[in-house]
Symmetry: C2
Subunit: 388 residues, 2 copies
């Protein structure tokens, strides 16, 4: 039961508080609508002509690093020894690393396909269908953990995942060592790169990982804009950049040079109760609060690294934006929901955005300005014994 | 030695002729410049709101079929028996058709990649690198000959090309028959589809070919426009359509429902004297007038069937347009030219076009309006014996 205010003084106080809150709210609403309405293309360009730190304030939610911001991906030398790099490249493209000697790392990570495979879900040994989309290897040196569920903590550890996986390259590592040691060209290459007489799995992992660290995006027009070339973006792209940081709420998860917070989120795409059900991070941690969480993917070169999302069911980037615009709700049938002990917690960062068609187009233009086709990389010659 | 005109009458006649020719030329020039200048977006839309036969006149060169024109790709039922279609689909996706049992038709013709493989040049057995780009299978039932060089006259004949090729699936056909006959599920499927007790290569070819005949583009916005929905194209796309038929000269080779004349042309891309040298049609006919000729590719769904050209060296459609704009010259080094007995004849249909940036954008918009993502097709289950 509510207590009734008993004196006139209390009434006045309550009235004052209500009035104050009302005015505060009205003020906020006005500021907000002014903010949204007040940007002409010219004023937006002026505001963004400044260094990143002086850009209009971004819309970041509580709990998100308040320093989260876009950052250029400036090309720094990788400092990896040429012998190791070239050896790693051979191993990366060589199908000898698979049980059937037909599948290589490059089968799912092809430079022509943005260092992914362009397919919804990858397939491997005996053309068995995998469940997830092959992520790009561009800028892989910058990740803190690997796979959509983050189950590997280093590139070296990651390498043997697909090589041993029965659905992927299906290789026994001892057999792999034997096959490589039987090839004179590989023995010579390992001697030159590592000073060893016998090829071991550990050196194979290091060589491949070191080659992968050299796979990097080219400098995009967004980078050039951040680095001070204020005419590098068109008006539409610039409007997209502003939306990305504000109304579209993208920056909450997509920030830094990779445009990823490198964290795990449940965006409702676990497809619980359906054939493609996938609880992601939960399989690694067994923590039910991680149900349906996947690593925030990079947006670098996103225009040509589709299909999208961990399940790869979405072909068009425009459709991904439409899904985010709707708040990316998690759809779980009533029957599944009632039978479940725990329901995945939908990330509160995801909310319906109310973006209009033109705003979605602007966002798309910005994402395309983040994307530069990688240079063509041709498969190297593989060392083989003459008798082969 | 020139004869001098001897009488006044002759002088007047000559003067009259010269004057007439001059006026004729001036008139042509004026008509031409009027023609190019006179189209507003509104007048263009009005002119193209009519049936195709009443559209503004196309720019077709002598020798090109004067009836060459765009045509809608209306969806007609394929009338292929369900059992044969489903069996063909299994065979198409099943890697058992390759020597290594790892490579299937779908490896290079993947629905997720526009029924191509998205790679510059395809690779096959032992991940050996091929020389040419895998063409899309969309609308393949409409082709009159197959492969970039037209060396097969039917789909059934085409099927065994990649299956037997040592660089591709590397399969022996007798072994293929044995492997299939050893699988009870396949024996049953062939019995139901063909009423046969033994699986033969001929029925394998028919089943795959029949499945491939069901692979078709979806109706695009250009089709809807041709079919009378006059608001199906934007202004830019409509300008692109007009350029396609006139100044950009595309219609000369790209016409009909496939947007291909199904003929062979040398567009100067044979890379003579370089590592990727490829004389195309000449290898089939041994006729030196066919040096460097390749079949005109379809432009259906071209926005997602890259990389482009028979060699697949071009990733971006915009870049292809730029190359055509320059007249697609054939670049042969002086040394190669001097050493050669015969030089490929550059197709005279290809000339520098003088298209401005905006015009290239309009053309690109038109090509994108021709493209609709194919429906997702999932790989079927493969028949396997339980013991396997």
């Amino acid at each position: 039961m509510n207590r009734r205010p008993e004196t006139k003084k209390e009434y006045h106080l309550l009235l004052g508080v209500v009035l104050f809150l009302f005015l505060l709210m009205a003020g906020c609403l006005q500021t907000r609508s002014l903010k949204e309405a007040s940007w002409s293309d010219e004023s937006l360009r002026e505001a963004y002509a400044k260094p990143v730190a002086a850009w209009p304030q971004a819309t970041l939610e509580p709990g998100v690093d308040p320093d989260a911001e876009l950052a250029a991906l400036n090309d720094v030398p990788h400092g990896i020894d040429r012998n190791r790099r070239e050896l790693g490249k051979q191993l990366f493209f060589d199908p000898i690393l698979s049980a059937s000697n037909q599948i290589s790392c490059a089968s799912c990570h092809d430079p022509d396909l943005g260092w992914g495979d362009g397919r919804g879900q990858s397939f491997g040994h005996d053309r068995q269908q995998g469940k997830r989309n092959a992520p790009t290897l561009l800028n892989v040196s910058r990740w803190e953990h690997f796979f959509w569920d983050g189950r590997a903590a280093s590139l070296e550890e990651q390498v043997f995942g697909p090589i041993q996986d029965h659905l992927e390259m299906n290789q026994d590592l001892t057999e792999m060592e034997q096959e490589l040691n039987a090839i004179e060209g590989y023995r010579t290459a390992f001697r030159e790169a590592y000073g060893v007489e016998t090829i071991t799995r550990a050196d194979v992992a290091t060589a491949i990982a070191d080659f992968e660290r050299t796979i990097r995006s080219r400098v995009s027009r967004v980078d050039r804009f951040i680095n001070g070339q204020t005419d590098a973006l068109t008006d539409a792209e610039l409007r997209g950049l502003h939306l990305f940081r504000t109304k579209a709420r993208c920056l909450n998860c997509h920030h830094g040079p990779l445009l990823s917070d490198q964290q795990f989120h449940n965006s409702g795409q676990h497809l619980m109760g359906r054939p493609q059900e996938d609880f992601g991070r939960f399989y690694v941690t067994q923590d039910s609060s991680h149900l349906g969480q996947f690593r925030t993917p990079t947006l670098r070169d996103v225009a040509f690294t589709g299909p999208y999302l961990h399940h790869g069911n979405i072909q068009e980037l425009r459709e991904v934006l439409t899904m985010y615009n709707s708040g990316m709700p998690q759809i779980i049938s009533r029957r599944t929901r009632e039978a479940a002990a725990v329901i995945p917690v939908h990330d509160p960062l995801l909310q319906p955005l109310g973006l209009k068609d033109q705003e979605l187009n602007d966002l798309l233009a910005f994402l395309e300005a983040l994307s530069v086709r990688p240079r063509t990389v041709r498969a190297p010659e593989f060392p083989r014994n003459e008798a082969r």
